[in-house]
Each structure stands twice: as C-alpha cells, then as structure tokens.
C-alpha cells in the first residue's frame, strides 16, 4: 500500500504478473508509456481503473498495478460507463484494439463518444486480429492477404480518426507505439482532458502484420510520412521541415517550401469547434501524403457522468433526500381497519 501523498513511480504500476505478449510486440512500448504516465498525473494509485475487452491489447489491465477489469469482447466502453457513473472520482482508462473497438464493440465506442463519457481510450491499431492468429480487421487495407482473406481483403477499412470525429469525441489524437516521447505526451494530454479521449496508437504486430507502420517509424523515411500536429503551428514535415500542407478547396495538398514559399499552410487549431478540417487532414492518403500524429481535436463539453450526477443532485436538492415511506405510501391509498 502506497502511503498517501507519497510520490508514485513507474514501479508502483508494475504488477507481479508475467507479461505474456509476444517478444517484440508493440504492446510493450505502450504498456511502458502507460506505466510512465500514470505516476505523473497526481492521481492516487487506487483511483485508476483500467478496463478492457478481448484481444492482445485487452490484456493491458493485468499488467498495470491498480484496479482493472478485463471484460468481454468489444464491451469495455459499456463497463467503463457503469464504473465511471458509479464513481466519477475514478480515472478510467480503456485498453482496446482495432477489432475490439471498431468491429464487435463499434456501437459502444460511438455511443460513449457521443455522450462524452469522461474516460480515456487507448486503441492499439495493428490492422490485424492478433489473438485469433491473423484474420483481417476493420482497419486492414483493401487487398491485404490474411488467414481469412487468401485472395485479399475486399472490405473498405474504417479510418478510426474519422469515426471518432464523426461520433463527436471531444479529444481525438494519434500516436505510434515506438515514438515513446510523443506517445507519453499524447497520453498526458488525454489524461488532462475532461471528457472522452480517443487515442489511436499505431502498433506493430510483429507476428501477423509485421512492418505495417515501417514507413512511419524507419529513420530514413519517417519524416516524409508523418506530420506532427501542434496547436498554433503550421503543418510542416520532412527532415528539414521543408514541406508543408495547405488546402486547395476541400483537398489538402503538399507544398514544397523550398520551391514555393507560402504563408497559407494549415495552422493547426485543435480547439476549433468544427471537426471538418480535422476530418480533411485525417483523410490524407497514406504513403502519398504524410500521416498526421498528435492531437486532432480537444474541445470542452459537459461530460455524461458529470451531467448524470448533476441532474441527480438537482433532483435531490429540489425534492430532498427521498423518504422510503413517502414513496411506498403514495398514490391513492386506503385503510382497512
């Protein structure tokens, strides 16, 4: 038991359970980031709850030494709703994957987003089903050869950022498993956000989809494939930050700043109430254009759990704490002597 007010460290959030992800899995880096961020948030250890569904990512709660609930496939947002509403003082985190969150659990995810439930969702996106050994997921690319698609995937994939923006998530961000500094800062931002925080984390499954994000992480090429969103700053990328993104009509386009100096690059505003621009830049085709990472959106709205409590408190303030006898003995009563 940690004494109150003691400074928490990363070690306080490690459990005695052997971590059972495959060696080399991107999940280790995410776990590391979570264990690094939690002690920095000023939240007592016992006030965290990590909730998950089913899948490799959903083993997360077992490895974080606080309260944890490993639930059933796709339903983590629903469990988190009950937990957060029952005790709004808890800091509730969800570990989930692309299959868990977007396929079997899609409905719960979008509804938790539209309600602005105050929970933080870490969606490990490896674009494959790992725990069931290699079927395509709702984020797998068209044409991908997997166990269940020997001739290639014919489904169109989800863009998770689009889904989150469309469902009204008040905080939407993306990071990459191995970019530990970036990931840590995004998690800290998510923790600080009051409301629903959706963080898509590109995560390498080195067994069933190895190298899916190589173009985003390999030193030589990554700067040409990633653009970091920073509030108030123009969208520039490339090793020498010599390329930028601007809008032509409704389409983002790349500008070579060496040949075309310009002052009309998109300047990122994560607080913009409309998520239209965030939607446009999240649409930039992978490889042909840089993939944005960082915070797409951070806006302030009342939280579901907060409003639920507020309403209950208001009713109690108006009518007083309910008296059981008054309740049972209400309506048309009659006495038999």
């Amino acid at each position: 038991m940690t004494p109150p007010n003691a400074t928490l460290t990363k070690n306080d959030f490690k459990t005695d359970q052997e971590v059972r992800w495959c060696p080399g899995c991107g999940d280790y880096a995410i776990l590391n980031a979570v264990q690094s961020v939690f002690p920095t948030l000023g939240i007592p250890k016992e006030k965290f709850v990590v909730v998950s569904g089913i899948g490799c990512s959903s083993r997360l709660p077992y490895y974080v030494n606080t309260y944890g609930f490993h639930s059933i496939h796709g339903r983590a947002p629903a469990f988190a709703t009950g937990i957060k509403c029952a005790n709004p003082e808890l800091s509730v985190w969800i570990g989930t994957g692309d299959g868990d969150a977007l396929s079997i659990g899609g409905n719960h995810l979008i509804h938790a987003m539209r309600r602005n439930l105050d929970v933080k969702v870490l969606m490990f996106n490896n674009r494959i089903y790992g725990l069931t050994k290699g079927q395509f997921s709702p984020t797998s690319e068209v044409g991908k050869i997997t166990k269940s698609t020997p001739f290639g995937v014919v489904d169109q994939p989800f863009n998770p950022i689009h889904l989150a923006l469309g469902a009204g998530a008040t905080f939407v961000a993306r990071s990459v498993d191995v970019m530990s500094k970036h990931l840590t800062s995004v998690l800290q931002r998510a923790a600080a956000h009051r409301g629903f925080a959706f963080v898509e984390i590109y995560q390498n499954c080195n067994i069933f989809n190895d190298g899916a994000f190589d173009h985003l992480v390999e030193k030589e090429i990554r700067d040409d494939h990633l653009v970091e969103l920073e509030h108030g700053k123009p969208l520039k990328f490339g090793k020498a930050k010599d390329k930028g993104v601007r809008l032509r009509g409704y389409a983002p386009e790349i500008v070579d700043l060496k040949t075309t100096p310009t002052d009309d690059l998109i300047v990122w505003d994560e607080h913009e109430p409309s998520s239209a621009l965030a939607f446009l830049i999240a649409s930039m085709p992978e490889r042909a254009m840089p993939q944005p990472i960082g915070v797409f959106r951070a806006v302030d709205k009342p939280t579901f759990d907060g409003e639920l409590r507020k309403q209950a408190n208001e009713v109690t303030a108006t009518h007083g704490d309910g008296d059981l006898k008054d309740l049972l003995y209400s309506g048309d009563l009659w006495n038999v002597e």
Binding site: M1, V315, D332
Partner: protein, 652 residues
C-alpha cells in the same frame, strides 16, 4: 359529489353480488387501458379485492377499427379474497364491432354486452370482417346475439351532447366516449365517481381545464343515462372485501419492482445503478425509477441490451448494486455478460419480464418460457440463481430477495416476472418500513492480507473490494483464475475445482432462500406445483377443488433455482404432482431431473394466463390418473375454444 346519493327517478333494486368481471374492449385509440385503470382504482379505494388483466396489441395504433387493433382491459372485483382476473367476463363493453368480434368467444350465454351502436355501421363492420357475400352485415340485427343480454347505447351521441358546452372539436368530443361507458359501469356497480373526477382534473391540469371538464361531463352523462333510462333494469353492489388490516394501494408488477429498487438502495445503504434498453413489457420499470434520482438510484438508458448489462456490471464492480431489466430477446443478448458476472463473482440483478416467444414472439402477451434460459442459458457451467414473482404485489418482496441473494453471494441473480404480472394489478397491503428485510452490504477495506478471491467459508462468497480503496488494487476478468489471489490460471485441476466451487456456492442458496408456499393438506393424492404468475389461477383452482371435497394441495416456488432444499421432502408426501406452466414443461423438466420424481405436466402457451376452470378440470382428471405417474408436456395442453391445432403440410 357522491352521485350515488342522488334522488333517483326510477326505483332500482340493488342486488348484492360477491364478485363481478368486466371487460372493457375497444380500438387501441379508444382509451380502454385508462378506462380500466380508473375502474380499478375506484374499486380498490372502495375496498374490493381485485385483479386486472390488460390485453393490448403489439402495434401502437393498428389501423383503427380492425381486429388486430383491439385493446382490452379485464377487471375482477370482489367482496371476497380473489386470486385471478376471472375466467369469463360478466359484462363486455364493446366500443366497436371489432371489439365485439374478438371478445365474443369469451362471453358465456346470458351475460351482458354493452355495445356502442354508433360504430355498427357498414364501414366499421367491414373493418371488423362482419362480411357476407361481399357485403357488410350487422350482428346486432341478425339475432346472432339473442342468447346474450345486449345493451345498445349510442356512446358517440352521448359524448357529443354532454361535452357541447366546452367548445371541443367533434374529434375531441368523441374521444370522451370511453368516459361515458365508464360512467355507466360506475352506476351499474354503484361506484363513486369522484376519484376519477379528481384524477381527470390532475391529469389535464389547469391548462387543459376544458378537457377535464368535458370528460367529467361525459362520465356524469354515462352515469345519469344509465340511471334515468333504466338501461340495465337493476343495479348491483359489491361490498368491500374483508381484508387484512393495513394501508393499501393498488400496484402493478412493474411498479412494485421499481419501488423495490428504490427500497433496495435505502435498505442496503448502497447506490443502485439501473441500466436498461427499451423493450416491451419491461420499459415501464425504467420509466418509473428514472424519477427516483433522490433515492440513491441512477438510471442509464443504454445504446443496446448488451451495453445495459455491461454498464450495470461495471457499476457493481465500482461498488453500486448493478441492475438491468429486459424481456426474453434482450436477456438473450445479455447472456455473455451474465457469464462474466458469474466468473468475476460480482452482484448483479437481471430482471426478465417474460413475454411470448421465441424471437420477437408475442411482445405484449404473457408467457413463462424463459425459465430454462435463465437457469442454463450461458456458455459452460455458469450457475445462476433464479427468483420468481407470483403476483403483482409480490414483485416487491421478490425484487428485494433477489438483491439480497446477489450481494450476499456475490452473484448475478435473475428475477423472473412476466407480462401478466408487469401490467396486471392488485391491492397491496403496504409493509411497515421497519419490517422490510435487511440487505447487508460489506465492502472490504483492510489491505492486510487482502486477496480478491478470498471467500466467506459459509456462503463461499468472495469479498467485494471497490476501486478507490487504497491498498486493494486488483484485477478481475473473464479468464479462469486461481481461488484466493484471482490470478490467471490455465491449470486443469484448478479449473475443475473453480467450476465446482462456483456451482457449490450457488447450490448453497437452496438452504438460504424463500421456502415454497404450501397450502392445503400436507400429504395426499395430489399437489399442484407451480412457479411465477400462475399462483393466482392455481390457488383459485385448488380452493375450488377443496370446496368440492377433493384432497388437493398447492406448492408454489418463489425461489426456482436452485430448487429449495425442502422441496423434495414436500413433494414426496403426495401421490401425484401436477405442474401447470405457461411453457412446454420447463419446471417439469427441472423437477424430474433434479428430484427424480414423476409429474404430470399441463401446459398452455396462448399468451394468456390459465383460467381457474381449466385448471380445476385438469386437477379432477389427474386425480383419476395413476399415482406417481407422468405426462409429457406435449401430451397435455390446455384446450382453447378459439384455436385449433393444425399443421400445414407441404403439398397440403
């Protein structure tokens, strides 16, 4: 105003009866449920014992005037203790031809039928399929009703005339016609009309004063019309029933459940978190308790049935009493999460307001065919207790009992009610608050030697440690775990012992539950065994049999699973067991497999309760059957005057 004391232009004999059954029937837009409810409340306050049976179509508004659009409300009120809404109406109020056609098969010759003549016109007759050779015919004119006492009244005209002073549109005036009919019934059975007047004023409020006034005028018009025209030739009185001392209110089953959930929060001093998704006939529970926010009760209308149960279980993990309510199809969706509740050993109340099935089935009709779904309907060995309510008022006590078991044994518990209990009503002798059962909730707080799966040696319940408690941080989930630590374990012997441990825990409830309700001789030739909403019909039939000198006992389960430990001993004292159920023998299967006793099954799945008379006939029949015999559910069904069992064969 007590209209009953008015000087009366015609002298009426007032006969005293000990009971009457009225059925109000009309189009679903005719306000039959309101009419029935008002008659019910007035009779309850008058002091009669009563039982009601609303019967409405699944469609909100089926095409007006058609057979599927008929809505009915039956009430039986009596000067004595009664148990059911009655087998056959003494009076049918038929607001249109369709209502007459649908309900006539239930009306015995010689009984009274009040018809609204204004609706017996070609257009309405056609919609009710009163057609011969392509032309509409009027059953009021062809002597087909000669064996009944038919009272013809133009309710439309009375409604329009009586509401003239209030400046209503013709449509609004016509909508008052159900109150004309209600007023007539109030006169016929000598009821005060002031309770309904008061209700109308409250219902419409000061802003719609003229609608309240118009309906009151219609009500009085019906009352006086019956009186002055000597329509019925006589008037009846049904004196108050001798009832237990106390304060009463009328209560419907869903209402009693809702009240009990507020009581559970108070009695356990633990917040109740209710999560539901709209479904007939369970939604009224959500509607009602969403008003109880100052009782320590939070409600959440989830995005689907699965989210509802998961949110409820999440809340239980966080230290609330998680509750969800649904009906058969919704319960099916919740199944996986209930399995998780079994595995994580968290309290959870799952209320199943049963309806006709399978699949969408008969959403507004009653059935008790979800028993086996609740007892066994989960993957693997996932034992779960089942508590069943047996009357609308009993829903209150059973809900509290289910919560008690859930928190004491750290387990999901099913509470089974059904459409008949949910919407049916009866007078409820209100309990004293200090007499309500204790619900002890204990949260772990001491981190010294804490293990999340440490158990109470007696109940085998694990500890309840809620997030936010320093030093008790732990992880739970659906993966098999080692007892004590709760750590993941795939060890074969551990799994075997955990499966048995969870099953033993639930089996232990057989010794700590509501005992069966036994009535009548404690041994003899026959016991009628039942569970759930059949209690009223069974009691009525058993009492009738006893009155005929037959030695018949009744044994009714309020705790259905595990079977109470005493049940085997009770049943062994009788030579024959008869099990009537509104399913195809689900309790019959459980009793035979668990207790290895033979029993006669008697089944009915018509979307409506057993009648007392059909049960009485069956009792008499079984008494002539071999002792210790058995009848398979498929061999033994209730007959129906309306339905013929047919099978369409290919190539016919």
């Amino acid at each position: 105003m007590d209209v009953g004391n008015h000087g009366s232009p015609v002298h009426h004999d007032r006969k005293t009866l000990d009971q009457v059954v009225i059925r109000f029937a009309g189009d679903s837009g005719d306000g039959m449920q309101i009419t029935g409810n008002e008659f019910t409340k007035t009779s309850a306050i008058f002091g009669n014992d009563l039982a009601t049976l609303p019967d409405f179509p699944a469609e909100i508004r089926a095409p007006a005037g058609t057979l599927p659009g008929v809505s009915g409300f039956q009430i039986r009120f009596a000067a004595k203790d009664i148990h059911t809404p009655g087998d056959e109406p003494d009076v049918l109020v038929a607001m249109n031809p369709a209502a007459l056609k649908v309900n006539l098969p239930d009306i015995r010759a010689g009984r009274t039928i009040v018809v609204n003549t204004a609706t017996f016109v070609d257009k309405e007759l056609e919609k009710a399929l009163y057609m011969k050779d392509g032309k509409a015919f009027n059953p009021l004119d062809d002597h087909s009703l000669d064996s009944y006492r038919v009272i013809r009244v133009d309710l439309n005209k009375l409604a329009i005339e009586s509401t003239k002073p209030f400046g209503l549109t013709p449509k609004e005036s016509l909508r008052c016609k159900n109150f004309v009919a209600l007023g007539m019934m109030y006169w016929l059975y000598h009821r005060p009309i002031e309770h309904t007047e008061k209700w109308l004023r409250e219902y419409f409020g000061p802003k719609k004063q003229q609608l309240a006034d118009a309906n009151i005028a219609a009500l009085r018009a019906g009352y006086h019309y019956a009186e002055t025209t000597d329509l019925f030739h006589e008037q009846f009185e049904i004196p108050p029933a001798p009832m237990r001392r106390g304060t009463y209110r009328n209560v419907m089953g869903n209402q009693a459940v809702g009240l009990a959930l507020a009581a559970a929060a108070k009695l356990s001093k633990t917040p109740v978190f209710f999560a539901g998704y709209p479904i007939t006939p369970a939604s009224d529970i959500l509607h009602q308790i969403s008003r109880y926010k100052n009782y320590g009760l939070l409600t959440f209308q989830a995005e689907d049935e699965i989210a509802a149960v998961c949110a409820a279980l999440g809340a239980s993990f966080a230290g609330s009493i998680g509750v969800t309510a649904s009906s058969g199809p919704g319960i099916a969706l919740k199944t996986e999460a209930i399995g998780l509740a079994v595995m994580t050993e968290l309290p959870l109340l799952v209320i199943d307001v049963q309806r006709g099935g399978p699949s969408t089935g008969l959403p507004t009709k009653t059935e008790q065919a979800d028993l086996l779904q609740c007892v066994f309907g989960r993957n693997s060995e996932a034992p779960t207790p089942v508590v069943a309510a047996s009357s609308p008022a009993d829903c209150f006590a059973r809900t509290l009992e289910a919560v008690r078991i859930a928190v004491k044994y750290m387990t999901p518990v099913y509470l089974l009610t059904d459409g008949y209990l949910a919407n049916g009503s009866e007078p409820w002798c209100l309990p004293e608050i200090q007499d309500l059962p204790k619900i002890d909730v204990h949260f772990q707080s001491n981190p010294e030697g804490f293990k999340p799966y440490a158990r109470d040696p007696k109940t085998l319940a694990r500890v309840w440690a809620k997030p936010g408690t320093p030093g008790l941080e732990h992880r739970i989930g659906g993966i098999e775990k080692r007892d004590g630590t709760g750590n993941i374990s795939y060890d074969p012997d551990n799994h075997d012992s955990m499966v048995r441990l969870r099953t033993r825990k639930i089996a232990g409830i057989a010794h700590d539950c509501t005992p069966p309700l036994v009535d009548g001789p404690s041994e003899g030739p026959l016991v009628v065994l039942g569970w759930g909403s059949t209690l009223g019909s069974i009691t009525g039939a058993v009492e009738s049999a006893q009155a005929k000198g037959l030695k018949v006992a009744r044994c009714h389960l309020q705790q259905v699973w595990p079977l109470p430990a005493t049940l085997g001993g009770i049943l062994s004292k009788y030579e024959r067991i008869l099990i009537p159920e509104m399913n195809l023998g689900q309790l019959w299967r459980l009793v035979r497999s668990e207790l290895a006793v033979d029993a006669y099954s008697f089944t009915k799945v018509q979307g409506r309760p057993f009648t007392t008379s059909e049960l009485l006939r069956k009792i008499e029949e079984v008494l002539k059957m071999p002792a210790h015999g058995s009848a398979h559910p498929l061999e033994s069904k209730a007959q129906s005057g309306l339905l013929q069992e047919t099978t369409e064969t290919v190539g016919g």
